[in-house]
Symmetry: C2
Subunit: 356 residues, 2 copies
Amino acid sequence: MATLVVLGSGIMATALATPFTDNGNEVRLVGTHLDRDIIESIKNTGVHPNLNLKVPDGVTAFQLEEAAEAFDGVELVMSGVNSFGVDWAGEQLAGLLRPGMHVLALAKGMQADADGNLTILPRALMNQVPKELRDQLSISAIAGPSIAGEVAIRRHTSVVFTGENQEVLDMWRGLYETDFYHVWTSTDFVGVEVCAATKNCYAFGAGFMHGQLTAMAETNPQYVNYNYGAALFGQASVEMTQFMDLLGGEPSTVLGLPGIGDCFVTSMGGRNVKVGTLVGTGMTFTQAKAQMPGVTLEGAAAIQVIGDAFERLTERGVLKQAQFPLLRHLHDVVAKDGAVDVPWKTFFGGNGSGQG
Amino acid sequence: MATLVVLGSGIMATALATPFTDNGNEVRLVGTHLDRDIIESIKNTGVHPNLNLKVPDGVTAFQLEEAAEAFDGVELVMSGVNSFGVDWAGEQLAGLLRPGMHVLALAKGMQADADGNLTILPRALMNQVPKELRDQLSISAIAGPSIAGEVAIRRHTSVVFTGENQEVLDMWRGLYETDFYHVWTSTDFVGVEVCAATKNCYAFGAGFMHGQLTAMAETNPQYVNYNYGAALFGQASVEMTQFMDLLGGEPSTVLGLPGIGDCFVTSMGGRNVKVGTLVGTGMTFTQAKAQMPGVTLEGAAAIQVIGDAFERLTERGVLKQAQFPLLRHLHDVVAKDGAVDVPWKTFFGGNGSGQG
């Protein structure tokens, strides 16, 4: 039996306790300062209020001030915070980790330095941990298409565990794999994490399909604007591949679960799509965001970070202006309150230059 | 001004008259023996009854017995029949084509010989034309995500024109490209057409996602079974790439419009998804088909042809049994009335072998 300590008790971190405990393991769930009510609810009733489900037997909840107790004697750690909490989580972990521990990260997104150099979030997380300690830990991540609620109720889910060390990935897979939770592994850490981050960006764009249809006041249900959406989705798959060139991932990682599969499920609904839909109807991003108070918009945040970095990289000559036309348009919408006006003719390498 | 003669007056063949005539060109639409009522309606009222729209100015309708008149003096020909009519259309064209003509084909699917060797449909079409004449014609095709009705009403649509001759493709593009109908070209004829055929197969599988949810009698709208669907979609993208190895297309063709983009739009709805959904609820394919009398199921037909061919190719040692696990499962469902039981662990190269 293994014991995992999880920092952050959001819905995905908690949902993943289902396959882990189904295998006879135990989870210690430590809330952040934002999770006090969640932890209180689990302690009192066993129910995670946002998942709206009882947590499995084998899960114990801890408030943040009980973190040291929760970390006592365990070797397996999950960072379950979202992309906005990665630096904070890294700082916390710097005081809680010990040599030999294995860390599994969930947050999806990227960070950039002043020159526009982009970093995947598991690396950003570990950058908060002193190098000497960091070198004695392993860092891996979970990616691929999974809606948390469906994992929690044991719906078939296929994911990718990624990191640099195959043995560590095999260890994690052994702990999580069940009859419904299907796990593959990939040592293309950068490629998988870049797909995971950018799919949130492109899902925001997928919302345009619905929003533009609303803006046209189309009343015939036969006209669904899917031709529009399919071209965005196709261009997303091409740009994901170009990210591999830029950041050093494997082009084949875009196929299958990490890129195409995750982009599909993320484009089918959720917060990113919702705010993109509002923008598609004709609102500015600022107006659309105001319609969703208190909602964390990881896709829009990733567009801001990556698009800002692309401006630096273009100034430096690392990127050409003609590259990533969809991501740049999304950035114009999010960072500059630009109107949705998809630059179709620039897609797929530009008109007349052939496919792909 | 150019004049195009179209054999077959189905919804896609007719919808494509919109961008073509928007550019000042004319269309002569020739119905097949199955299209008599459509042609009669267009002649009398200008309305295509299945599109439920008036055809554009510049379209003239002809019954099949008027075909020779329609073909008189034109150099541009479209074969607009569906996959079930390809051989018939080729036989008709053999008597109507003249040296120097350019042919554009719409039907998506594959044909196989007794050894399991697969042929794309534009080639099958032209195989009905005597070789001496065939060598004096060009053959191209239109592929990529486009719902006919949306093309007809000028919704943004991005497609790929494919064939072996770049100059011919550029000519066709010049005739069709408008502000809403965006055209790219690809000389990867086999790759584009294989994507176009197989996306219909995988869209049938996408229906399982909905059908299985119905079978579970899930009442909470929060549980949408998209994790299930995303894994199918991801495996589809991997198998499409393996088709490129098998049949000689470019792996990069799977990205962008011809593969991923078209698979997305086709998986979002339509007949293939509907019959797949019925099978997902627990019906046999035979039972599901009986629920949809008179409906042509091109995806199921393609699964039958390709799956049968895979059995021959496996016997011959060209394919390994472990290749194409999703397509083979779809074949088991369609050809043998097998129950839906997705072989998850065999996806993505098999469990433990890493991603992709």
